[in-house]
């Protein structure tokens, strides 16, 4: 890959819990190019949430290097990390994480508020992002007036509105029934076709199998990296692409 969006080398994150060192992530390396759709798959405790937090610039590694869009992330001050998240990353969470007291459009506007976009432009962009996920007629509903699938669509609109270079989705279908989950995955496929870079964290091999590429984690290490279907089918302990 000539110019990867994400370049991770020997990334480690250790926690000290009750005097013992827990190696949540223990020397992970991979690169993701622009326009790729990659699943991070693994059992719970495999380190995928830790990896997601690091990739999402929410946490800083114990050691190793992480470059996002050509810039070194480690060692950046807190404000710079906040700005980086705002510009480069769109988060989609399992539990949607919408602000309960704000309307759909106000939720979607939020990243633009933190970027200092004037009100009118903010509103226009938020409305068009909601339109793009098929919620043009639900702009002023509050989250509790929306179905689970609609809430996740609002969250995706919020992730996309700032035109980030990376869409980071953490178990986006985990709280949805299978039909609605299928719709959301359809939406991701659509976004991938339109050139978005997507990193999808999941524990479901079935979901990983539908991604062009998947990386399998186990005990804080990469144990598989290759076409989604291959990696999803993989047991632990073997690598598909050495």
């Amino acid at each position: 890959m000539a110019d990867p969006l994400i370049e991770i080398r020997d990334l480690a994150r250790h926690y000290v819990v009750g005097g013992e060192i827990v190696r949540a992530l223990d020397g992970v390396s991979f690169a993701i190019g622009r326009g790729e759709w990659v699943a991070i798959v693994g059992q719970s405790g495999s380190g995928k949430s830790t990896l997601m937090n690091l990739v999402g610039c929410l946490d800083t590694p114990t050691s190793g290097s992480y470059r996002l869009a050509g810039a070194d992330v480690q060692g950046l001050p807190d404000d710079a990390l906040a700005d980086l998240r705002n510009r480069e990353i769109g988060f989609v969470f399992q539990t949607f994480q919408l602000l309960p007291r704000a309307s759909a459009v106000a939720n979607v506007e939020l990243p633009l508020v933190y970027r200092g976009i004037p009100r009118r432009e903010r509103r226009a962009r938020a409305e068009s992002a909601l339109g793009a996920v098929g919620l043009a007629n639900r702009m002023h509903h509050r989250p509790n007036e929306l179905s689970g699938g609609q809430r996740q669509r609002v969250a995706i609109a919020r992730a996309l509105v700032g035109e980030p270079s990376l869409l980071l989705a953490d178990e986006p279908t985990g709280n949805l029934d299978s039909t609605t989950g299928e719709e959301i995955i359809g939406l991701f496929e659509d976004l991938h076709r339109r050139g978005h870079t997507i990193l999808l964290v999941t524990h479901e091999p079935r979901l990983a199998a539908r991604c062009p590429r998947a990386i399998r984690l186990s005990d804080g290490r990469v144990v598989g990296d290759g076409p989604g279907a291959d990696v999803a089918a993989l047991g632990t302990g073997r690598t598909a692409r050495a």
Binding site: N53, G56, L58, D59, D78, D79, A82, D83, R85, N86, R87, F91, F93, Q97, L98, L99, R101, L110, P111, V113, Y114, R115, G116, I117, P118, R119, R122, R158, G162
Partner: protein, 419 residues
């Protein structure tokens, strides 16, 4: 330039956002918000009520001071506002009377006007109407120059009234209103009133003067002092009011001291057996009184505001805990620490300022009620309102800063995972 504009847009959007959240939180939890801000409401209410009353007093007092002869000395055997010290000694002094008045009238070169004031309280009546405890003052035409006041109807006392000891009277606004109720103001002139049973002809009425320190200045009757001494008798010591030009008060004091010592035959080695009282003694007393009131108001206000502030801090800590995940989301979407800090500071100061607004409103209401049922006055000034709002917002800012700091220090990963 563009970066600056972005910063501005971002800051204003964040403040608006914080205010919006604060208001929706208030509406969402009415009872809790009410209890939270109760301390602030009571604190601000107390301070505003007291400040409004003091400012009201100030205003009516200043209006009075403008009326009263500010450049007047009041000579008598009594010293004003001494409390109980020396009371017995002063009581036993020789009374002021005609001799002192004549001496001052004839010998003072600095005096611009000299008027006697011989007073007593008496029942004043007309037909079946009676007013008890009216201040009856025996004086001369110079009274208007020494004590101020203007005639509303008819005329003031004249020199012939005094020389001939006529039974003429000029009555205060309240006396006129109550004795001649239902008549046109000018119809009082020429009619008779009884002062302690002695008939007097009303020749004039005074314009309303209002109240000073709770004393009503409109319940009085002015008669020639010669008539008062002859018909009503007076064993009280007379006051001699002496007016001078601005800036000559000290010189006048020296001159009067000389005249009075001589006429009262005070031996050189003895102290004065009289006092020269001044209006600014009233001012000083008034300053002490309102200063004490201000002190109490500030003390009570500060205590309740601290209690209110603790209430705000408590609710903000709850609010931060309740919204931990929201803070995590905001951080993930690009909010900096100081953005979160600002949001919660805005929220706490808006909550407190709303409490302050309610408190200001109630405080002004209390002041109006107090003014209506007591002799005190009340004034609503923009500065009092600004003080109430500003102070409460400040309390919100101060006591909201620790919860806001805690919110800003939250780790985004932990916050997002918080259940």
């Amino acid at each position: 330039m563009k970066a600056l504009r972005r910063r501005f847009v971002r800051a204003t959007a964040e403040i608006a956002e914080g205010a919006r959240i604060a208001v929706s939180a208030l509406v969402g939890a009415r009872l809790r918000s009410f209890l939270t801000t109760l301390g602030i409401v009571i604190g601000v209410m107390t301070v505003i009520a007291i400040v409004a009353i003091i400012q009201g007093l100030d205003r009516s007092f200043q209006a009075q001071m403008a009326n009263l002869g500010a450049h007047t000395l009041y000579a008598n055997k009594w010293k004003w506002f001494t409390g109980s010290d020396g009371w017995w000694e002063m009581r036993n002094r020789k009374n002021f009377g005609i001799a002192e008045l004549r001496a001052v009238e004839e010998e003072s070169t600095l005096a611009t006007a000299v008027a006697p004031m011989a007073g007593q309280r008496a029942l004043v009546s007309r037909l079946d109407r009676e007013i008890e405890n009216v201040q009856v003052i025996g004086t001369s035409p110079r009274y208007l120059d020494t004590n101020g006041g203007t005639v509303a109807q008819g005329r003031f006392l004249s020199d012939p009234d005094v020389e001939l000891s006529r039974n003429t009277a000029v009555i205060g606004a309240d006396v006129a209103q109550r004795l001649f109720e239902g008549m046109r103001p000018e119809e009082a002139i020429g009619r008779k009133v009884l002062v302690r049973g002695v008939p007097f002809t009303v020749v004039g009425t005074m314009a309303r003067r209002g109240r000073m320190l709770g004393m009503d200045l409109d319940v009085n009757v002015l008669v020639p002092y010669t008539t008062l001494l002859r018909d009503l008798g007076s064993r009280r010591s007379m006051t001699i009011a002496v007016a001078t030009e601005p800036g000559k008060m000290e010189a006048l004091e020296d001159e009067l001291t000389g005249i009075l010592r001589r006429v009262r035959r005070v031996p050189p080695e003895k102290k004065d057996d009289f006092a020269l009282n001044r209006q600014d003694q009233v001012l000083r007393l008034y300053g002490q009184l309102t200063g004490a009131l201000y002190g109490v108001a500030v003390g009570v206000g500060l205590i309740t505001l601290v209690v209110g502030g603790i209430g705000i801090m408590n609710i903000m800590l709850v609010s931060v805990t309740e919204r931990t995940r929201e803070i995590g989301v905001r951080r993930a979407l690009g909010a900096r620490r100081r953005t979160i800090l600002l949001q919660f500071l805005v929220e706490s100061s808006v909550v407190a300022a709303l409490g302050g607004a309610v408190g200001t409103f109630l405080g002004l209401g209390v002041a109006q009620i107090v003014a209506a049922v007591t002799p005190l006055a009340a004034a609503v000034t923009p500065s009092a309102v600004a003080l109430g709002l500003g102070f409460s917002a400040g309390v919100g800012l101060l006591f909201g800063s620790w919860p806001a700091w805690r919110a800003a220090r939250l780790d985004p990963v932990e916050a997002l995972r918080y259940e």
